[in-house]
Structures are given as C-alpha cells and as structure tokens.
Symmetry: C2
Subunit: 206 residues, 2 copies
Amino acid sequence: MAGKVFFSVSMSLDGFIAPESVDDLMGRQWMELQRWIFPLRFFRENLKLGAGGEEGRDNDIARKTFERTGASVMGRRMFDAGEQAWPDEAPFHTPVFVVTHTKRDPWERPGATTFHFVTDGVEAALDRAREAAGDRDVRIAGGGATILQYVNAGLVDEFSVAVSPVLFGSGIRLFEGVDASRVALKPVSSESSPRVTHLTYSLHRR
Amino acid sequence: MAGKVFFSVSMSLDGFIAPESVDDLMGRQWMELQRWIFPLRFFRENLKLGAGGEEGRDNDIARKTFERTGASVMGRRMFDAGEQAWPDEAPFHTPVFVVTHTKRDPWERPGATTFHFVTDGVEAALDRAREAAGDRDVRIAGGGATILQYVNAGLVDEFSVAVSPVLFGSGIRLFEGVDASRVALKPVSSESSPRVTHLTYSLHRR
C-alpha cells in the first residue's frame, strides 16, 4: 500500500515558517519558533547531541513524524541552506530528492541520507520519492515555496503545523499564494503541550 | 478590581480574520470561518433566532466571551459594516465605543447596546470603555486594524483566536504590521472541538 504525502512544519501564530533571510536562522524569532523541539529526547538522539532530553507527547510526535517518513522532497533553497548547516550525518537518514535546475550526482552522507538532485520538476521528484519510500510516507520537507507548489498541485494528502507562541511580523509565510479557491481543509487532530499546539489537517480539492 | 482588555476573533489557518471587501461578508470563505458559531445555542439566543442550537464547549466559550465583556471598542470600518448588517437589537448589549474622526451623538439601540463615538483616539476610547465596563472586561471587537493598534500600543492583556479549518489566501490579516520586536506571547490555553481550535495567549512587552 502506498504511503501518504505530507508536510510538517513549525509555524508562528501569524503564519510564518522561516525568517526572510537565511542569515536570521540563528535569530531570536527562529529560536522561539523551534523552541519546542530543542529539549526533546528525539531531537538530541537524531542529531547525536548526547543522551537525555524530554519525553512526552511533543517527543512522541517528533519521533512519529520521523519514523513515518520513507523519503523526503525539498526545494533548492532549503538544500543550499542545509548543506552549510547540517552536520556530516544529515538528520534525514533516508533518500532526499532535491528539486533543482542544476544537475549533480547523488550526494551520499554518513547515516544513510542520500541527496538526489531532480531537474525535471516537482512531480518527477515526488514520483521518485514515492518509489523510494515504499509503504512509508513521503515528507515534503520544505521550504515554504516548495510546500506550496505541492499543495496547489493537489499532491499533498495531509499536513501538521506546530503553532508556536511567537509573532514574526515578516518572513516566509507557509500559505503565501495558496490557491484558496481549490484547496479545502478537514481537521484531523489537535493537541497541545505547554510549548506548542499541533494541528493536523487533510487536504482536499474543492 | 479592573477587568482585562482582550480580543477574540475567528482566524483562518493562514491568519486572516475577514475578506478584503465587505461585499464578501456573505461569501464562502467568511461562512467557513464563522461556521463553528452558527449552530450554537448562544448564537441563536443572542441574535433572537429562536430556541434550540448546540450546547457543549464551543457554546460555553462563546457565552463566556460575551458574559465577561462589560464594554467593547471597535473601529469605524467595523461599525460602518455593522450599522447595515446588525439587527435592530445589536448583539452587544453593552456600551460600545467607536473610534472615529466623525462626531456623532450616542446611538442607543433596543437591548441595551449604546454606541458612543470617540474622536480623540484609541487610548481615550479604551479609557471610556474601562470605566463603563467596571469590573468586567473590555473587548476590542475589531476590525483587524483597530485590534493591531491596541496590540502595538501594549494595551491588550490577552486574546483568543478560534482557528477555523479554512485558507483565505487574501483578505485582512489579524497580525499584519504587528511590532514583533516588542510583542511577546505566552500560551494560556488551547482547546479543540471538531469544528475549531481555541487558542488563548497573554500579551507581554519584550
């Protein structure tokens, strides 16, 4: 049975998922957006930051998001930022398909992450990710523009946003340019911890 | 003891609280945004639509929001739209202070709603509302621009957003122009029903 196509992001209450500039990725807003993740046991394990960390529902949700993912798709902008920022052992541990205009040989990292560079469009990248994922799910990892391309193309089955208690005021909006006349949401689940609210929706065509 | 200053709005998942044009207020998006309210027993009572309607947490929350409110403040744009749309017995049943540039005598409606027109600014309107509210709370009723003026001025203690499962794509954003460098949020509560997620935060200066 084929898996689902989903995305999962942290979002400010005013709808932003990243600062305008990559240079702000260590800034106050970004840290507040992601604050719920850093203390988690799963986060520490996955980035090999050592033992310890918090368990509980936030941790279970982060771990489940990782474990359901058989392959990821990401845009070039996210890859370029990550290429500088990820540790040698990149935190995906699956095939990752990068939508780009630049041909490049697959880039294999320690820990079973291999980046494949796909130059024939978003649908081709998703097809390859589905095949690689087998019966697990495909995660559209980001960034915002790439997620939106898949949403507007009707290719996303469901998504989760972790709404963090922060206002950005500016930056990259998750749903900027969404084709609201065609995209309908159905609530799947909602769950809160002291740090964040996890909202999950399925996506449908109108 | 003085009450709090709060606002409470329904928000699309992408951060909008109203369509761009008042002409769209009967449109599909607006109806989807407000869909959680229409079936409620409290909504039917308050607008004298007859007996019946649903009870439960959504209804309790809507009723509590009404009952805590001793006076409201609203912007001129919201008043102008409402003057056409509200029934004779406007749904506030308290004093309402309209921030406007146009002097006008108080406008008394059946059912104890009186609109007062305040021409000396947002702080003056809030002062008058606090006085009228006594130990109950002051609600900044809207619209978006007026809410934001009070938020950026540091005059709002807390707020609730009912996040509805709809994407607008365009319209009036709740936090457009927020001074994110000065406004900090703390989660107060989060609660979901099948139709909507109620998120409450307190507001603080950085």
